[in-house]
Subunit: 566 residues, 2 copies
């Protein structure tokens, strides 16, 4: 087909954004081209974007339809998503015969490679731009697959996810352009003529990349791998979580449209929806055509991928046990409010939510006087209760539990120890079938090794442990052990002591964990900002990669050199 | 101890070299700070460097001694190297109790991390500079362990190896300084005060790095991993090949001296020599302390490392089957001379030596008229004979066979097909015990699939196959299959046809192999230049990494962020 999107158009529209992204990953200052406020979209907002009502209408129009993508090898239809808020989505997606789809995805590789790093980056930015214009529509899709509350689904599933995708494109572009396209090489030979070669260097993708999506953050965790692989020259097959297909199906459709309009094969991006119980990720992961895998999910399957998908580069974000060390503070109220929010946001169903609060059993010093272990725990409980006392506000912060396993863990948490804060059921007025629970906080004795099984396992969901430890030193020992053995996406700490601060930093440097110190305001340990914060470190068992750094992109392509005598 | 080498001294001495290396990996023009000519060292040459006689004296002084490194955990002595030229070296190296040595190596990690990327790079450059000053000494050590002829041992084992080490340091420095040391982050909040954070970013090594050395190029293949890991903050344990310990033992001693003088723990670099048959690489490779492994050697052990050393980042250079496609040429004499040299250099014992010469069975067109398959093969044979007709010249080019396995392969090659060029024994006047053999060229029929077992296996040593193929198209199909299934460190091709040239390039881009086109002068397919050429691609089965690119260094460290409310 004729190319409707020319390289020049793409460059005029997106090159300034790419340049700003490149600059920002170097300074790591604040920046985002994707507005966070719902009112920034639609009439009077970003040009061509859907407003709130239009986005809702677009989402509703997809429900109970067949979501055709015109992919090669479609051999049937599959679906079955049920919103954590209650409704069945009723969407059917194409099921692919991978023996047909995978070869078709490779057909466009040579042209995509020949386009070069800049054009690939700009096409990716056009895809992101169209996704951004449909943030309202995607927000509903994320909400009704993940169980996130609308505002979170809007922000984390929209602009923040798009930021992470753009960040990956910027890193990929930077790494691919480190080597020049060509070079003249002339080696002196004393009195003889120099040896002369002309050399060309071409970045070449590795093969088909597989993105294995997760239930809780289908776009936020999916976009980095998708855009890192696509912009480095690889076709990308998106295998969504069976309970969170729609956000990624919408994404794939947009990507295919843009690729075709820019004159490339739309099959460079495809969807692999699976039949119930099919377990297609395991089949795909070991196919020889699959050379890159991005995965977010359980440690068990992440470990399986790392051990078995030996033909591929495997990037995993698995489970960890996140810790907050409470040593001392000069803003006790701020600490309580900040921790309460962190425990509550999306019902603790973030891979970054703190699980273990390590508190010296003899208490801590604060600006409000000394506080005993029991006081700290009950004050945190009270802060959570205060934050979530009103059902409407609570529902808007908690969202819904993503699946019955989380509900079961919340209900069983009381068996693990003394309950300092019981979970309560919250009513969602708009969606009465939503399962909404407030966090439970359980007291555990960190000086007894027979209780460590509980706090040294990930208990995904709104369950936290207030672990009494012998001292801050003991807290640091436990922190080190937890990161080393179980991994951590985040570590938080509160201290007024420079020595303690330094000691916590050393533990995090030694064990490779990202640390937030003394957060008492509107930034929370579970949130990271693209272009500035790293998500995970890639250096402890929770994840083998960080979002986003050079290591996340540099091995998705290879540089092929051709040298000729000059 | 007091630091004798201050950061300021290091910066004054080495920062200009680092800057030039950084610039050159961007332009990929010719550059090296390490002179190739033996006369550039010693009196009147590089200041402080050993001249030819001094280097020989230093080498002789080490023979038949205990090579003490003052390493923790030394529990005995081991040795037994025998030069491929005949003499026993008689050197004994410390054998380490790794349960003592590994913890000792970690002790200096925090200070090495705190030194930061620039100081680490400059310390590495000081190490390289002292190695460079002792190039003559190291040349003898490389010669009498690898069997390389002196001039090759001098150049490839000296300046070229040092170039590859420096290149790795430059890449590592560049990747580590991509993220700033600190950042101020301020996120607007409409009418409210912005959210403000101060952030620090620290590069942190992964843990102890293991370098598993090879017999043929102990320094050239060892330095990239050693310096990439050390400069990214990791202690490095060097496990040399038991037949090629001395070059790396000398390297380790120099590194330890420099580290101590710069105020760091010398145990950041240590040697792990092994007792005969101990197989210590397998033990070390799966120790939890070992987080990075660089390996050059057999495919079998490389595959084992990739499958089993799951706790480590594993960089392997294994075996491949290198091909030259002969389609046509406008410089037939140049082709013959170039190919003859490539087959002969170091008795074909380079991982980059061409093995399969694919020649259309109906012959090729040349500037000297059409040449049949038989003519091309006999002309190559004649060119090799011409090059190696004089024993003294032949010995200086061939070196010695590195081990009895290579000799056995040369002697058995005649069973594989019709011998177009028999191997002949060359006398080495200075070292009568050296085993020196000229290359053997065997004719194989590439149109018969029952003969592909020979040319589709690596036959390491001076054995090449002149494979008759149906056509150039068939040659390209076989080239593709060879790279995909067996891997290739190098591909060469001769053609005067732009279409054929383009088709060969496409195969190499698709299968990720480095291509040299129409080499007829003084550059050979088996040689690469640091800062400009990539060694291997990391994208086919011959190697999972290239020397040197960002992917080779970016995952040897992690960036740990600490953020604080501003």
């Amino acid at each position: 087909m004729a190319a409707a999107l020319t390289p020049q158009q793409l460059s005029e529209t997106h090159r300034p954004t790419l340049d700003q992204a490149l600059e920002t990953i170097g300074t790591r200052a604040y920046w985002s081209p994707h507005p966070e406020h719902p009112k920034a979209y639609g009439e009077g907002g970003a040009p061509g974007s859907l407003g709130a009502a239009e986005g809702k209408t677009a989402f509703d129009a997809v429900l109970n339809t067949r979501f055709d993508l015109d992919q090669p090898g479609t051999d049937g239809w599959t679906g079955g998503e049920v919103s954590p808020y209650g409704p069945e989505l009723g969407v059917e997606y194409p099921h692919a015969d991978i023996d047909v789809l995978l070869p078709a995805m490779k057909a466009g590789t040579a042209a995509w490679r020949a386009a070069g790093p800049e054009t690939r980056a700009l096409v990716c930015l056009e895809i992101l731009s169209r996704i951004s214009a449909r943030t309202h529509e995607l927000a509903h899709a994320v909400m009704h697959t993940s169980g996130q509350a609308f505002m979170m689904a809007f922000q984390a599933g929209g602009p923040h996810a798009q930021d992470r995708g753009l960040e990956a494109v910027a890193y990929a572009y930077q790494e691919q352009t480190r080597t020049p396209g060509s070079a003249d090489w002339s080696k002196p030979q004393g009195k003889r003529d120099p040896l002369k070669l002309t050399k060309t260097f071409t970045t070449s993708g590795r093969g088909i990349a597989l993105v294995i999506g997760c239930n809780t953050f289908p776009t936020w965790n999916g976009y980095p791998g998708l855009f890192a692989s696509l912009s480095t020259g690889n076709p990308v097959l998106v295998k969504p979580h069976p309970r969170a297909v729609l956000p990624l199906a919408l994404t794939v459709r947009i990507a295919r449209e843009v690729l075709a309009e820019a004159g490339f094969d739309p099959n460079l991006v495809a969807l692999a929806a699976e039949r119930p119980g099919e377990g297609i990720a395991k089949t795909l992961a070991v196919r020889p055509e699959i050379r890159i895998i991005d995965y977010t999910g359980s440690t068990a399957f992440g470990d399986w991928l790392e051990a078995n998908a030996r033909q591929a580069q495997v990037y995993t974000e698995k489970a960890g046990v996140n810790t907050i060390v409470v040593d001392s503070t000069d803003d006790y109220r701020g600490l309580l409010a900040n921790v309460a929010f962190s425990l509550s946001l999306y019902s603790g169903q973030m891979c970054t939510t703190p699980q273990n609060l390590l508190i010296p059993r003899d208490g801590i010093t604060t600006d409000a006087g000394p506080k005993s272990y029991d006081e700290v725990v009950s004050d945190i409980a009270a802060a959570v209760n205060g934050l979530l006392g009103d059902d409407a506000r609570a529902a808007a912060l908690l969202g819904a539990l993503v699946n019955p396993d989380v509900k079961a863990r919340v209900e069983a948490a009381g068996e693990l120890g003394e309950v300092a804060l019981p979970s309560r059921t919250v009513a969602n007025a708009e969606f009465p079938d939503a399962v909404v629970r407030t966090p439970v906080v359980v007291k555990l004795d960190g000086t007894k090794t027979d209780e460590d099984a509980a706090y040294l396992s990930e208990c995904f969901g709104p369950v936290s442990f207030a672990v009494a430890v012998e001292s801050t030193d003991a807290a640091l020992e436990l922190l080190r052990r937890t990161i080393r053995e179980k991994g951590a996406m985040t570590v938080g700490a509160y201290t007024t002591s420079p020595e303690v601060e330094r000691a916590i930093e050393d533990v995090c440097l030694d064990e490779s964990a990202q640390l937030s110190l003394n957060l008492t305001g509107g930034v929370y340990v579970n949130q990271t900002a693209a272009f500035s914060d790293f998500h995970g470190s890639g250096g402890n068992p929770a994840a083998n990669a960080a979002l986003c750094d050079a290591a996340f992109v540099a091995n998705r392509f290879r540089v092929v050199e051709v040298r000729r005598q000059a």
